[in-house]
């Protein structure tokens, strides 16, 4: 049947949430059709599949939509049980990963967003919050990387690797636009070496947009946000 195992991903090329899902599908070797969405003019399909939030990414599996990137990642892991497993099988190890996933996804991501979209005193505070959270994350991740520098390959990438890449993969673009380091080998040696290890992987490299395009996007987001504050 044509509908059998039909996977479509509605996304946006610069969206880190979309990136997470793409990476998971690629890691698991799941063939899919990618549909690029214009966020200023969303397709009828996106509005139909995600009436509550009207956002991408939306994964459509045999016509059924799944939304919210973290939930999509869990769905992918539960539906396609081949390696790499994105989450551990052991309930306690799984709970630890979900705890840190929530920390990365909600707290760090929000702080990063604030740093990018503010200036002056507000940006200083947001940057302070970000650095404090990065210190907490650095400490927390020591348990996951007891040997120090992470050794990751396409076979053992998991949920936290995907989230870390989605957040800090564009670090060079952030640095260029913000004229400061968000992630620093001296301040966060473990996290920095983790991001370096991730960005070197072939499966990650092929999912990474060109640097100039990312810089332009971050610049656009920042200018838009700052202008709307003034207005």
């Amino acid at each position: 049947m044509e509908e059998e195992n039909q996977i479509k991903l509605h996304g946006m090329w610069g969206s880190t949430f979309t990136k997470r899902v793409e990476l998971a599908l690629k890691l698991k070797g799941i063939p899919y059709e990618y549909i690029e969405e214009d966020l200023s003019n969303k397709s009828q399909l996106v509005l139909k599949y995600n009436p509550v939030h009207k956002k991408v990414p939306v994964l459509v599996h045999n016509g059924k939509p799944i939304i919210e990137s973290l939930i999509i990642l869990e769905y992918i892991d539960e539906t396609w049980k081949n390696a790499p497993r994105l989450l551990p099988d052991d309930p306690y190890e799984r709970a630890k990963v979900l705890f840190w996933a929530s920390f990365l996804h909600q707290q760090l991501f929000e702080d990063m967003g604030r740093v990018i979209t503010s200036d002056g005193e507000a940006q200083e505070k947001a940057t302070k919050d970000l650095f404090e959270k990065l210190t907490i994350l650095e400490e927390g991740m020591k348990e996951f990387f007891p040997g120090g520098t992470p050794s990751i390959n396409g076979e053992n990438m998991g949920l936290l690797d995907i989230l870390m890449y989605a957040l800090f993969g564009p670090y060079k673009a952030h640095e260029e636009v913000l004229e400061m380091k968000t992630i620093d080998p001296e301040r966060n040696p473990l996290l920095f070496s983790w991001v370096m290890a991730l960005t070197e992987l072939p499966v990650v490299k092929e999912s990474t947009p060109p640097h100039e395009k990312l810089v332009a996007l971050v610049q656009f987001i920042r200018e838009n946000a700052l202008q709307s504050c003034v207005a």
């Binding site: 509550v52 059924k64 939930i71 999509i72 869990e74 309930p91 799984r94 630890k96 705890f99 907490i136």
Partner: protein, 221 residues
Amino acid sequence: MAEEVKLIGMWGSPFSRRVEIALKLKGVQYEYIDVDLTNKSPLLLKSNPVHKKVPVLLHNGKPIAESLVILEYIDETWKANPILPQHPYDRAMARFWAKYIDEKCLPALWNACWCEKKDREKAVEEGNVCLKTLENELKDKKFFGGESIGFVDIAANFIGFWVGVLEDVVGVELLTIDKFPILCKWRDEYVGCSVIKENLPSKEKLGAYFRTRVESASQSK
């Protein structure tokens, strides 16, 4: 091997009560440790150093934090009376609605109760949008989980009970039967369930707790 289950919680916290509902549903024996949130115990600070919040479940000494993460952990560890559905798609839907409740509904409803009077009308409107969305999702089901309480119903405990208490204390109308007949019917069924009824704080005690907050807020102005 003796199993040791402890729950660090706070009597008035809906997040804490979610975990108790799940443990009771599954017949898990546990020791409950109530915490004074204005004077957090060393045990809480050691068990949840990142957020320093309740609830924290301690299973044979291992801490698990974040109520929805704890619920999933409980469901995977004790298999009686499943909370989440079996099929990955249904599980994704349940997670979506629980997340919607936590990230959108609770902040909107909480804000509608505690914001400045000049902002109240707009805040109530935002709360109403969330409630309407949940009302539409419930449709003709008895519970979000179907015939019996599930993951989303447990996550919605704030709406099932805390909202009513806040409405009385603060004097705001949120979950009204004319606007949300289906959700009100759900609420009545929900608090009628023995596992829910037995795991709610006393209405009087919770009301008094919120009342002191109202009074201290008006005094500080």
